[in-house]
Symmetry: C2
Subunit: 162 residues, 2 copies
Amino acid sequence: MFSPSIQSLIEEKADSFIIPASRIAFVEDENPLYHAFLILTKMKYSKIPVLDRKQKVVGLISLAMITNKMLTPDNIVIEPLSDLKVKDVMQTEFETINFAHTNFETQLHLLVDNPFIPIVNDNNIFQGLLTRREWIKAFNYVTHTIDEKYNITEKCVSHEEN
Amino acid sequence: MFSPSIQSLIEEKADSFIIPASRIAFVEDENPLYHAFLILTKMKYSKIPVLDRKQKVVGLISLAMITNKMLTPDNIVIEPLSDLKVKDVMQTEFETINFAHTNFETQLHLLVDNPFIPIVNDNNIFQGLLTRREWIKAFNYVTHTIDEKYNITEKCVSHEEN
């Protein structure tokens, strides 16, 4: 069970959890790989969402996925950057979150193995990102406020009960 | 103040917080950039520590730092990968943590703006990494166990006191 007191504190911060789509760098699946190489070189995010023309999230792409295509047994080559499209290289297996149907427990669980999760609506349209960074901030808030708002006392457990 | 009850729960998990140096990919400052390009393309980490020959942490390097050197106004070129060394490209401003002198509050605070922090000993020798992922796991543990071990009741605050 997710602690009700921690849940209550996090709900105070939940609005600031989502990094809205308008603030997120993304690329389109039909873009040449060259374009994603430039965006990822210039942005601070190491992996970004890939959208189709209807703003649906169809993949994720990182620089490592791109540079992996540039490796040949003998050399590093730049031709794949113009020969391939983002959709040829992107990761297509990934988690998404629909905030309407996902509780905190699931969000936190997904963030153990994913630095960020794309948020979508019921039509799979990209809404923004949930990130580990925002949860670290929320956890920071919880650790500093829980004792102001709650009385917390250790439960007395007898040795027999253990 | 960092909540004592949460601190106590996290201390149960603190040993597993550090990813030991033996499990971390790193490069050396004198390596050709080509080497870092290969390591970062093949590893899951988007940024890794740079060590000198004495195992001291002297920098951090990401694929984006490398690919940024490959951009010219007209083209993407591979020559910098053999012409430059890791030390010519790495980030030299970064935080480190010495576990002997750093409390949980400071660790959590540093992880807001850094996905990971290199851990060093008193001689600045690399010991491992502290990561957001490990703290997310710890937070997950706290949210599921705090109500088993503690009685938590909301404080009664009169409207006058607010």
